[in-house]
Subunit: 147 residues, 2 copies
Amino acid sequence: MKQGDLNMASKTDQAFLQKQRTGHLATVDGQGRPVVVPFCFVYDGKAFYSPIDEKPKSVSPEKLRRTRNIRANPEVALVIDHYEEDWSRLQFVLIRGRARILHSGKEHARAVALLRKKYLQYRRMRIEDRPMLKIVPWRIFRWKAEK
Amino acid sequence: MKQGDLNMASKTDQAFLQKQRTGHLATVDGQGRPVVVPFCFVYDGKAFYSPIDEKPKSVSPEKLRRTRNIRANPEVALVIDHYEEDWSRLQFVLIRGRARILHSGKEHARAVALLRKKYLQYRRMRIEDRPMLKIVPWRIFRWKAEK
């Protein structure tokens, strides 16, 4: 097992984090109980960004709950991992950080552009009108199975 | 979007849950902050089971932390999802439940057998000697993208 505890992601970790298509985001509700959902994101080497869909008709209440949880408690965790049936190749990066919600502005616009570069799917979605989750890590932990 | 809020998983959900190879498990630490890690599991239609590796040499501190967190706060969440680039086919099942740790006995042995049936990998691992995480859902929520 190789592991490391980092403030910043190494170059290798950065490449891994930027490549993965989904992560899993955990928040905590008002009763101190966790919730976790899959999410799409970009990572610019400093922060993670993910658009929030707040339209109740098209989004699950669990995703709305995520926003509510973050407003009440900004502490989040996200994990980005690689699975395959050869368990000697398993790896994950766990990020613990603080989240906040961007509504507009330069940083919001930059995140929209990065998301559209990574995901073709976002090019035909109006994510520029949506709030954007920003997560700044206070800890980045990586784990790799022993070869 | 199709969604449902269930106490028990439907037959379709059960098939989906039993088939997926990994899930993501969120716990809450003593400071009320979430942690999330990927995990392998079996679901017998009532509870989820996952072996815990507690040997500090071969396991990440984050996985050990999971056990410590559960002892302090049994509330957990787990999500089992399907991702593909066609986002009209996305789906996930979010389970919120309570966890406890089994050390031995009939239920432990049954979980070991179920895990070895699902994962060839566990057949050559001594999971019979390891504690077993048992998660009993108090809520099962499923979400599917609109077609």
